[in-house]
Symmetry: C2
Subunit: 440 residues, 2 copies
Amino acid sequence: MGRKLIRNAVILTMNATDDVLHGDVLIEGNRIAKVGANLDAQADITIEAEGKVLLPGFVQTHIHLCQTLFRGRADDMALIDWLRKRIWPLEAAHSEDSVYYSAMLGIGELIRSGTTTILDMETVNHTESAFLAIRESGIRAVAGKVMMDHGTEVPPALQEDTEQSLQKSVDLLEKWHGAAGGRIQYAFCPRFVVSCTEELLVGVRDLSESYGVKVHTHASENETEIAIVEAERGMRNIVYLDHIGLARPNLILAHCIWLDEEERKIIRERGVKMTHCPGSNMKLASGIAQVALLHGEGIAVGIGADGAPCNNNLDMFQEMRLTAFLQKVQHGPTVMDARKVLRMATMGGAEVLGMQRDIGSVEEGKLADLQLLDLEDFHVYPSFDADWFSRVVYAATRGDVDTVLIDGEIVMEGRIVRTMDKKVVLKEADHALRRLLERI
Amino acid sequence: MGRKLIRNAVILTMNATDDVLHGDVLIEGNRIAKVGANLDAQADITIEAEGKVLLPGFVQTHIHLCQTLFRGRADDMALIDWLRKRIWPLEAAHSEDSVYYSAMLGIGELIRSGTTTILDMETVNHTESAFLAIRESGIRAVAGKVMMDHGTEVPPALQEDTEQSLQKSVDLLEKWHGAAGGRIQYAFCPRFVVSCTEELLVGVRDLSESYGVKVHTHASENETEIAIVEAERGMRNIVYLDHIGLARPNLILAHCIWLDEEERKIIRERGVKMTHCPGSNMKLASGIAQVALLHGEGIAVGIGADGAPCNNNLDMFQEMRLTAFLQKVQHGPTVMDARKVLRMATMGGAEVLGMQRDIGSVEEGKLADLQLLDLEDFHVYPSFDADWFSRVVYAATRGDVDTVLIDGEIVMEGRIVRTMDKKVVLKEADHALRRLLERI
């Protein structure tokens, strides 16, 4: 991979002091070797970035690549119906082919809009195909198959035996955790308490500890979900997760909208991580997470777009705006500023994944996961005396991302994703969806 | 201008039955002559639109072009501080030059993102420069100078004498109403009750009636604003507007967040129009308008991005998503679907402006204000068996607009705005802002 030099960029470092520099970044292999003004370095590839803005690639800590194919097929529904009537039957009809192109389509969109790392939850079957897409596309991912051994109205193809679910997860973990030079990691993904027996969740707790990997699940997204958990398990959702010993620092909870004080305390004291999904939460009418409050209490918060059918984009620029705007309209204009949101979208996500030493900022020694924005356009001007954080968070859009590097590799350049053939992916995604719908 | 033929598009007509056709549109002069499949027509210019989506240009019914230059200079503040501490001092420092480039920058962004008609409120001075920019850029606009003859903490340059404010408005009206072949119209723009004496508002009422033009103002955006009106005028905001006879069908109110039942009744029964500004309302922490309820009561509702410093974009795609999402998270997932939102963004805006016979849909006899979207991209796929309304409202973005026609003229093609030199506008906008800041 050799040495790459990015020259003359405005650099939003997102380091501990949020420094903004004008200078160069030298990449050796897959890591940032040096950040500074006028670096006197030889490089194999030089990227002239005069007038462009360099920032860390976005880290999205809740994504379902396997659902990208279902964009627009489940609008205007609330969570439980959305799952039972649309998403589960669609997921049940997935094949290797459709999982692969669903993932490629989603990753194409993610890279195009500046996301370089995802925490991804797949479906019950064919997760191998998603890992192949992740490997080929070059994105950094912590991913796993979803686990479901319980619940009503689950299509047969998604119904798992407890042991089988654990074993399939372990098989995938042993094959893929650490693959592609460490760019790929495995996480256990029990869907949510509603879909899981206690035996499964306890198994996940023990296996995740012994393998040293993350657990990625949904929690307290929707009031009906909470009611089902209370009726079945006799306690509130997060209290139950703590009761069975899952509430640990390796647990990452998506949504966390309906928390009471005791549950916030559990999350805080156990070092549990959370992901805020404002677009999904609004579109599914789930509610508004108290993310300013949770973040203010020191809880690690990342941002994720969730799946395409509940958003309907996988675009961190949109999620950043929503994160700020939703908190402002609820709690006042100063509660969440651009800088705080950009931290959540970068270092916040890195902390959620326990990867804060490797990604999330432009600093020497970190992995070269970077994006270059071209802000020479009407909607992000004026540039004179501009606040860079405001410009990036409140005004920039997905179309402004020009170049993306992941793990030191240039995966997008001049707004063209290099690691896949867009025309082929679009065409095959349509074909795969057509065949999938025929199977239902 | 001759005849133009757009061939083989998917056409979201937004006619009374929301028909979606696959076919051609023939334009003669500035009007749509024919819509249908395989039109056998000769044309001077043929636009091949195979694979593209044709829809009416967006109509944004609340914009401040004069504030585009202040994007990012007033973040994280609530309305009254935002106005008194930032926006008014900035507006007071405007020159002819800065108003012109502020307008060009805003119009460039608007055309680029598919907006073809705006209702625009300028500042107190130099409104002539905004009209010049509107004329040159080719956008359709109903615009007027703002009127302010009352209130505290108003910079001297924005303080007007009542008679002078009315006379300056009439002078501009007589010069610009109906200009550019009717593409430009004038509207009286008293800022809001807080900034206007009763004498001014009564003058606006009488002059707007005798000239047959619209009145464009802000109303009930913010709780502090409401409290000031109640303290000064002894009644609630909309009740006061009705009391002085301004609540008529030619009145367009931006925001309308804090309405009680009596005020909703006044708006409904008097045929007053309203504009929903979800991005601005969230960012300024103003509140959430009950737009599903108001629209359901038969009130004409348009959508507007407001000004760049309170949004910070002028992008109807973002405002459409917010319109749907905000209502869903408050009132459930079915309260506002993609089709309803797209109607608000097109025909809704046309009705607010009283221009429903001329714009807002793709129908024979209407003015040719059109946009072509290119949806061959990751974030708007799959396309197979797709719901077009969902695809456009929930997934498409500003970057997907490929071609824009206004009044029969091609003002953008291949994503390049033809009616201005982008590089010059960006550079001069920066220069104008620098000089403006030196004047403060």
